[in-house]
Symmetry: C2
Amino acid sequence: MSDQSTEAEQDRDAREDEAYTLSQKDISAILYAVEIDDAAKLTELMEPLHAADIADLLEQISGYDRSRLIRLYDREFDGEILSELDESIREEVIAILTPQVLAEAVRDMDSDDVVDLVEDLDDTQQAAVLDALEDSDRVAVQQALSYPEYSAGRLMQREVVMAPEHWTVGQAIDYLRATPEEELPDQFYHVIMIDPRLHPIGNVTLGKLMRTKRATRLIDIMEDTFKVFTATQPEADVAYAFNQYHLISAPVVDDEGRLIGVITIDDAMSVLDEEHEEDILRLAGVGEGSLSDRVMETTKQRLPWLAVNLVTAIAASMVISQFEAAIAQLVALAVLMPIVASMGGNAGTQSLTVAVRAIATRDLTGANVWRVIRREVLVGLVNGIIFAVIMGIVGVVWFGSPSLGYVIAAAMVINLVVAGLAGTAIPVILERVGVDPALASGAFVTTVTDVVGFFAFLGLAAAVLL
Amino acid sequence: MSDQSTEAEQDRDAREDEAYTLSQKDISAILYAVEIDDAAKLTELMEPLHAADIADLLEQISGYDRSRLIRLYDREFDGEILSELDESIREEVIAILTPQVLAEAVRDMDSDDVVDLVEDLDDTQQAAVLDALEDSDRVAVQQALSYPEYSAGRLMQREVVMAPEHWTVGQAIDYLRATPEEELPDQFYHVIMIDPRLHPIGNVTLGKLMRTKRATRLIDIMEDTFKVFTATQPEADVAYAFNQYHLISAPVVDDEGRLIGVITIDDAMSVLDEEHEEDILRLAGVGEGSLSDRVMETTKQRLPWLAVNLVTAIAASMVISQFEAAIAQLVALAVLMPIVASMGGNAGTQSLTVAVRAIATRDLTGANVWRVIRREVLVGLVNGIIFAVIMGIVGVVWFGSPSLGYVIAAAMVINLVVAGLAGTAIPVILERVGVDPALASGAFVTTVTDVVGFFAFLGLAAAVLL
C-alpha cells in the first residue's frame, strides 16, 4: 500500500516536473544565489527561464527576497518579465529598477505590451516608462491610452500586415519580403485585405498564401470566418468572439471603419482568463485582489462584501426576533432553524452560479430564460421534497415530534423552491438593469433564502406547534 | 431622464448587435420559418450564421422546436455544428439526424474534432459516426481514442507540417507548395523541425519562413520558446502552458519522443474555458451540469452537494443543541447566533476561493503557502476586529446588554480568524492529498466556520452571561 502511494507520488512529481518549468528546487537554488550575493550564479540559473516563469518566481517569493534578487539581477532585466508580472508586484518592481534598466527593458517591447504595462501605473511611473520610449513608440502608446480602459483599442497592436484587395498572392509575398522587420509585428498569422478606403474586407492565412500560385488573386483565397472589431468595443466582446468563432487574429477599425490595428488570439486568451478570474472572485465577494497583495489591501477588498453580508445577516436575525416567544417556548426551533436557511442558501448559490455563468457565456438569453427559471424551480421542488422527507424523519427521531417534522419538511420545500426562483431571476434582472450579476447576486439571493427560510420555518412552527 | 435611459438602451442594443451574430430577432424569424414549415426561408436565414451560433440557437430553443428545426434543415446540416453543441443536446441531435446526413456531416471534419465529437457519445451513436468515416480517418480517430480522456493525445490533430532540421527555407517552402492540400491541416502557423529520429527540436513561424532568404537554414530562424507535450499528459497542463508561455501551436510526441501530432491554441483555449467552467461550478457544488440539462438530470447533479450540506448543517445544529439551556434562558442568543456563523462562512468562502484559484493557476506553491496563510489569518483578524466593534455596538443597542456585545464581538474575531486559516489551509491540504480543492473545500470550510461560530458564541455566552 505504501509502495503504491510512493509510486503514485513519484508519477505525480514527474508529471509536474514536465509541466512546470519552474520547480521548487529551482526556486531554492535561486534564493540561495541571492543570499550569497552571487550574481554570476543567479544569471546562470535565471537564463533558461521564460519571462512568465521569472514573473511567477518574483510573485511567490517574499518582498525582501524580491528586492534583493532584482538588485542583483538588474542588468539582465527583461521588459517581458514586467508584462507578465501581477499589477501589485509590478509597481514595486518598477520602483526598484534603476531608470536606465527600466528604459532598456521597455524599449524592445511591442506597443500593446507597453500599453498593458503602463495603463495601471501611477503617473510618475507611467511618465518614467513613456520617457524611456522612442518618440514614435511613445505616440503610439499614448494614442492607445486614449481608448477607454478594457477596450479593443487598448488590446490591439498597431503593427498590421495588410494588402490591397486587388493584389495577387505574388504581390503580397513580394511585399512581405521587402518590408523591413521592424515594421512588421513580432508574430502574425494573416494578411488583412483592405479596400481603397482602408476598410478591412477579409483575411488570408499565411499557410494558404505560401501554398497558392503567385498569379492567384488574394480575394479568391480569403477565409470564410472574418470578424472586425471597433476600437471602442469592450475587450470582453472581443474575447467572446475569439472563443466563439475560433479566431486567430482579427482587425480593429476606427469609427470610420478604417483599419488601425490587429488583435491576436493570445491577447484574447488573456482577457478570457481575466474575465473568468474576475467572475469567480466576484461570485465569492473578493473583488480584484491577487495573492501578492498585502494584508491591508486584502482586508479592504474583502470588507465591503462582509459588510453587505452583515446587513443581510442582521435582516435575517430580525426575522428570528419576531419569533422570540415561539423559540422561548420550544428551544428545538433554534436548533433546527439554521438547517432550513443553510439548505436554501446552498441551493440558491447553485442556481445563481449556473445563471451567472450562462449569462457570461451568453447561453442564457431571452429565448430560454423562462424555460431555465421553470427548470430551476422544478429542481428546487424535487430536491425540496427529497430533503423534506429526510429532515422530517430527522425531526421526528431527534425531537420525537411528528409535527415538528412536518413543519421543517414544509419549510424545506418552500425555501428550496424560492432558492431556485431567486437564484435564477435575480442575476437575470441584475444583468437587465446593467449591474454585474457576478458581483451582486450572492448578497440578494442569500438574503432571500435566509429570510424566507427563517420565516417559513418559524412562522409555520408558531402557527402549527404552539 | 427617460430620454437618457432610452439612449443608453439604444447604445447598449447597438453594441450587442455588433457583438452577437445571433440576435433575438433572428431567433424569432427562424422559429417562425420552422412553424410554417418553410424550408427555403429557413435555409436562407441560417445561411449567414456561423456553426457556433447555430449550435447556440439549438441549445436555447425548446426540445420540440429543436427537433422540428433539424428535420426541416436536415440536408444542410454541417458537421461543425455538432462539434459546437453542448454534450447533452448533441446526443439528442444525433439521434434525430438521418444516418446519411450524419455520415455527410462528419466526413469533412478534422480528426481532432471527430474525436471530440465521438468521445462522449454512447456506443451505438459512436459506432454510427465511426462507420460514416473513411477507413484512414476511422483508424486515426480510434487511435486518438486509445489515449486517456482529457489527455494531449485526444486534443491533438494528426495532420502535422514538419521539416528535417538540416533543411533550408527554400526546401521547406518548396515542400509546402508540393504537398497536396488534404495532407496538411486546415490551419497551421508553424513548421515543426525534426531530427532523424522524428524528435521535434524547434518551431519556425510561417511569417519568418516567408520573409527569410531561401538559402538560410531553418535552424537559424527557430523560435525561442518551444514546448513539447507527450500524448498522455493531461490537457490541463497543455492549457496552462499555452496560456503561460503564449504558445500558438505545440508538437505532441509519443513515449519514445517521436512527433505524432500538434495542438493549436484554439483547442487549448477551449480546454482553459472548460477548466474555468468546471472550477466555478464545482466551487458552487453544481457538478458537470449545463443549461440544457433536464430537470431530473439537474436534480441529480445538485443533490450530492445539498446532501453534504445537510450533514454539515446538522453538525452545526448539534453544537447548538448543546446550549439549549442557555438559549432557553436568553432567547437573544438564538437571534444573534446566525450572524456570527454567516460572517465566518462568508469570510471562509472568500479565502478559499482565492486559494482554489491560486492553486489552479499555480500561483500558490510551496514557496509562498505559509506567507499566504499568514496573510489570510491577519486579514481575518483585522476584519474580525472591525466587525466585532460593529456587532458589539449592535448587540448593546439592540438588546441593551454590554456583556452580550462583548460576547458576540469576541466570537466574531475568533470565527473570522479561523475562517481565514481554514479557508486557505483546507484547499492546500486537499490538493496535497490529491482531491480537487474546487470540489470539496466548500463543505469542509463551511462546517468549520459553522461549528466554530456557534460554539464560540454560545460557549462564551454560557460562560460569561449565565
